[in-house]
């Protein structure tokens, strides 16, 4: 108790007030008054406070609340809003959480960036004109292999090419054969490996990560996957870009991996970019070594 008192000596105690009943109560402020809102939505709030000279000041705040135009709901819809719950909804458990708002922001994913179609035609036109002038620019799209139509970055088939499809590689076939022979011996074969199963590269995923993989270290913290992709795609088609992000801090851990479709491209990238100055740091680019486990 005593500690309390010494800590806040100025604080008025309700019990003490009662004792000082006869004394001047000027230091007390009348309670806050709220009048309204009336039918016009006008609300008055009367408050009292002391100004710096110690005088009591009355503050009257008048506000008018305007009803927002009701989202055009029909009378019957408003009525339905107040219907009592029924069926299983009556005794809904508090924690049942039947209705949740997605934590993930879902976008209407466009098949191509808006407006690219018109632009493409224009650029192609420009290029033809350039070619005509003799300043031969040979455009070859590295995604779809089309010549003179568009640049890789504007490839309309970019998204269509399923990344895993490019990696359904030969060893898978031998593996299936193995699996099949294994099945004959009565060993378990996962459904995705069985004959007739739809092969979509799920099993190839792990292998993919190790193929033509280039490790990039000494990245600056600001470097994100798009930046890395921008840097590396000049050497050839890139199938995967990954920058390690610290899960706790959300900051880049300063290294990443880039997978190339072609080994030669990866080799060139290593030769060119190892020791390359990027964002005031010197990159180290090398072949990624597969994990020991």
């Amino acid at each position: 108790m005593s500690v309390d008192k010494s800590a806040k000596p100025s604080k008025l105690r309700w019990g003490e007030l009662d004792e000082d009943d006869g004394e001047d109560l000027d230091f007390l402020l009348p309670p806050k008054q709220v009048i309204g809102p009336d039918e016009n939505g006008i609300k008055k709030v009367i408050e009292y406070k002391f100004n710096e000279d110690g005088n009591k000041v009355k503050i009257t705040t008048t506000t008018r609340a305007r009803k927002l135009a009701k989202a055009r709901l029909s009378k019957r819809a408003v009525e339905r809003r107040n219907w009592a719950k029924f069926g299983d909804a009556v005794h809904e458990e508090v924690g049942s959480r039947l209705t949740m708002v997605s934590t993930e922001e879902i976008l209407l994913e466009r098949p191509r960036a808006p407006g690219t179609k018109a632009e493409e035609a224009k650029i192609a036109g420009d290029n033809l004109a350039q070619l005509g002038k003799g300043g031969a620019v040979l455009m070859v799209c590295r995604s779809c292999g089309k010549k003179g139509d568009h640049w890789t970055s504007r490839c309309p088939y970019k998204d269509l090419a399923h990344p895993t499809e490019t990696f359904i590689d030969k060893p898978a076939a031998t593996e299936t054969a193995m699996a099949a022979s294994g099945a004959a011996k009565g060993a378990y074969v996962p459904p995705s490996m069985r004959a007739g199963a739809e092969r979509t590269g799920g099993s190839d995923m792990r292998r993919r990560n190790e193929e033509n993989s280039v490790r990039v270290t000494n990245l600056s913290e600001d470097t994100r996957e798009p930046d890395l992709h921008e840097l590396f795609r000049t050497f050839g088609p890139v199938s995967r870009v990954y920058v390690a992000i610290d899960q706790k801090t959300g900051v880049s851990r300063g290294f990443g991996f880039v997978n190339f479709v072609n080994k030669e491209d990866a080799e060139r990238a290593i030769n060119k970019l190892n020791g390359y100055g990027y964002d005031n740091l010197i990159l180290r680019v090398e072949w990624a070594t597969p994990r020991s486990n």
Partner: protein, 307 residues
Amino acid sequence: MRPILMKGHERPLTFLRYNREGDLLFSCAKDHNPTVWFADNGERLGTYRGHNGASVKLWNVQTGAQLHTFSFNSPARSVDFSVGDKLAVITTDPFMEVTSAIHVKRIAEDPSQQSGESVLTITGPSGRINRAVWGPLNRTIISAGEDCVVRIWDSETGKLLKESDPEVGHKKPISSLTKSADDCSHFLTGSLDKSAKLWDARTLTLIKTYRTERPVNAVAMSPLLDHVVLGGGQDASSVTTTDHRAGKFEAKFYDKILQEEIGGVKGHFGPINALAFNPDGKSFSSGGEDGYVRLHHFDPDYFNIKI
């Protein structure tokens, strides 16, 4: 947009339907408990309990009380009320020796006077009749099902008026059919042949075809913009054995006129079985094999999409 997820059903969704004013959303699943939700915030209003077999039930929307039960000797597949709610068309599945059929029932003003007699029964199509709906001015009934043919019947006499041309029609079972918002001047069918087709409801001429790379289980048409939505995905039985990306479980938006893809909305982790547009065109909901209903309120930029 941030969709609202509604997990009221234990089993795959089969149907989604908004009421006319768009404030209630009704959902049906294979778990026998139709459910009604508030369409703005996804709050559950109630469930309709009592289904246990081959029957069609008439409910009081507000209280969930059963008003009448139409019993059939085979499972019922779909129901559609006529304009004016005086009649209902019900399709039943083939079962044992019973063939599939389309039944027309008169809905009495007073539920206690309701009779179980069919005004009209149409048989003929082989396989399941997945959808039957009322045509323009209730004069016709449009049906589609597993035999890949769209048929138009006279709703008075039950006579077959038109059949879709097998040359241009669907090549695989038709899974869904939805009418346009203007009392069915045209309608859209979705089929497992990975396409959806837009038909004229009077002449049954093919107007448009929307091609996609997944079997189509559900279709919807925007009442506001010239957009159609297709939902589907790989066969539910093979979902667990393949990579999730192979499933193609997005709802795909197409331009109704140009037949070009506008975009996709991801989210379900099973095929989409049901799609419905709010009558105001500002939100839509999808129901999947995963048992979830996802209610999407469009972002403002959806309304100025140009292709």
